[in-house]
């Protein structure tokens, strides 16, 4: 056994793989886990009836079963996103663009904001040639919506890894840019004695970093889109609490938050 392993190792050394550092081993394992998730859950799913949530929890899990019933009073269906740390951005992106399919006035307003967003980032010091591919992908998707495609066309774009990830990168950049522009305000909400810039470098711009209130507030304000999030957790009360970002807005996007993950809800 040990000999076999020894051989295996020397084989790997021969292949020049011996320089795999411990960090890389962790990355490799994370990649493997991500791949397993990737094969089982699409980036953005088909629309499904809300009652499928019941199956995810035990029948005698009264807190969740009760909350799902409460949720069903307000919403009819759900679209799930892959739990890869980017779910908030993907859920937001899809849900918003889907709503724009039927609202050409809002689409044009949004297109103007989106087009301008790159210039804001460049003037803040982001390198133009590195961010423009991401911006172009974002603009292409918005352009596509202008041509009134079917929801399925949009869905297949969002399930194409490279397109979908580029959109996530750009939404992360927009979030980061807004947080840094409004540094004076957001500084008070950042934990761990970090500056806003450090926070963005560590928690916003890298892929797969999960989103919290602060990210949602920033993205909602940066793109001027109102988001309502339903929070479903183990809290007592039997009802699902929600937050609207920004508070005085008229929400068009509805997301379901369960600890660590966002999905899309439909009325």
């Amino acid at each position: 056994m040990a000999e076999e392993q020894q051989q295996e190792i020397s084989q790997k050394e021969a292949d020049g793989l011996n320089c795999l550092a411990y960090d890389e081993a962790i990355v490799a394992q994370q990649d493997k886990i991500q791949q397993e998730i990737a094969t089982s859950i699409p980036l953005v799913s088909e629309r499904q009836v809300l009652s499928i949530l019941k199956r995810e929890y035990a029948d005698d899990d009264t807190i969740y079963q009760q909350k799902i019933r409460d949720l069903q009073k307000k919403y009819s269906s759900i679209r799930k996103t892959r739990p890869d740390g980017n779910c908030f951005y993907r859920a937001f992106g899809f849900s918003h663009l889907e709503s724009l399919l039927e609202d050409s006035k809002e689409l044009h307003r949004f297109k103007a904001i989106a087009a301008k967003s790159k210039q804001d980032l460049v003037s803040q010091g982001f390198t133009e040639f590195t961010i423009e591919d991401f911006h172009n992908t974002f603009m292409d998707l918005i352009e596509t919506c202008d041509k009134q495609p079917s929801v399925n066309e949009l869905l297949s774009s969002f399930n194409e890894q490279s397109v979908s990830d580029y959109l996530v990168v750009y939404l992360r950049l927009v979030t980061s840019g807004f947080l840094q522009r409004e540094e004076d305000f957001f500084q008070h909400f950042i934990e761990g004695g970090r500056t806003v810039r450090e926070f963005c470098q560590q928690e916003v711009e890298p892929m797969s970093k999960e989103s919290d209130h602060i990210h949602i507030i920033a993205l909602a304000q940066a793109l001027n889109v109102c988001i309502q999030v339903e929070y479903m957790d183990r809290g007592e009360g039997g009802t699902v609490n929600h937050h609207i970002f920004p508070e005085d807005g008229e929400p068009k996007i509805f997301l379901l938050y369960r600890p660590g993950h966002y999905d899309i809800l439909y009325k």
């Binding site: 320089c19 590195t130 560590q202």
Partner: protein, 325 residues
């Protein structure tokens, strides 16, 4: 080159753009893809002024993953420099107090400026880092100009624009520089066995030698945070060490019955073991809390077995005494 690659691939699109951006050498850095491979670049960087690398020009490779820019490039230095080992990947560290991870909005230029910025920092014994003396580094800096690369054909004397008196001492690109400062480079370990055994040692801290042997047998390459397999090994080794109590007894020529014979059972209350058995529990490695239950069971079974063996010895001797008398 254009015809060879799928221009719709985001990586190809991006790398073409970066190649155009970096086409002309600057005073401080230059990088271009190899003629036959857009995913392997060669670069040259000027050693930072006011450092032991002043006057040196260093050459290296950058290997881009197919997922670039979603995944980071790998960087390998080819010129001896006294700071990084030659021919080993320098990679983005995901460890550290505030882990920095690669960001898709970074570029090859960001990486080049990061290397320049990182050269004068201390290696601090990191595996793959070198802490040569200033004299050695200065000697290598001088010597570096003689280096010519067989693969890309560039020679260090002419690889970069000459510094003029009014040129900036450092690469000017505040944004890239700012990003570069946040990058945490570290050289890769030369052998995964090192990190493997240290992980095993750390996780087997306080274990008995039997367990350590087990852990040492763990394949170094598969050391990646495999808590569960390690634990199951521990259970295995503890049960094997408890069963190893029996063989020495049989080595003394005594047959050990698997179950107590009727006679033994009958005499169980009559006599006590003359010597208290050397506690087998002492031979057992400390158990994980999750295995406390099985550990107690093993200890109890071992004690019972030991008691029976000693009773057997005692009885045998008693019998012998009786016979001789």
């Amino acid at each position: 080159m254009e015809s060879k690659y799928n221009l719709k691939s985001p990586a190809v699109k991006r790398l073409m753009k970066e190649a155009a951006e970096l086409r002309d050498p600057t005073e401080h850095y230059h990088a271009q893809p190899l003629e036959d491979n857009l995913f392997e670049w060669h670069f040259s960087v000027r050693g930072p002024p006011d450092s032991d690398f002043d006057g040196g020009v260093y050459h290296g490779r950058i290997v881009l993953p197919p997922e670039y820019p979603m995944k980071p490039p790998s960087i390998i230095l080819l010129t001896p420099n006294g700071r990084f080992e030659v021919g080993k990947k320098i990679c983005l560290s995901i460890s550290g107090h505030h882990p920095e991870t690669w960001q898709p909005s970074w570029s090859i230029r960001t990486a080049l400026i990061a290397i320049i910025g990182f050269m004068p920092t201390k290696g601090e014994g990191a595996i793959g880092s070198l802490d040569y003396t200033p004299e050695e580094r200065r000697a290598l800096a001088k010597k570096s100009l003689d280096f010519c690369c067989d693969a890309c054909g560039s020679c260090m004397r002419s690889a970069l624009l000459a510094l003029s008196p009014d040129s900036d001492l450092r690469p000017v690109d505040p944004q890239a520089h700012r990003l570069a400062q946040q990058i945490n480079f570290k050289a890769e370990s030369s052998s995964s066995a090192d990190s493997g055994s240290s992980v095993a040692a750390a996780s087997s801290n306080g274990e008995s030698s039997a367990t350590e042997e087990r852990d040492a047998e763990e394949p170094a390459s598969s050391e990646q945070v495999r808590q569960t397999p390690l634990r199951s090994h521990r259970t295995e080794s503890s049960s094997s060490s408890s069963s190893s109590v029996a063989p020495p007894a049989s080595g003394e020529g005594l047959s050990v019955p698997a179950a107590p014979s009727p006679r033994q059972r009958r005499s169980q209350n009559q006599s006590q073991s003359p010597r208290s058995p050397a506690s087998p529990a002492a031979q057992l490695p400390p158990q994980d809390p999750s295995h406390t239950g099985s550990a107690i069971l093993i200890v109890l079974l071992t004690l019972a077995l030991a008691a029976l063996i000693f009773r057997r010895i005692y009885l045998a001797h008693e019998y012998k005494f009786d016979y001789e008398l």
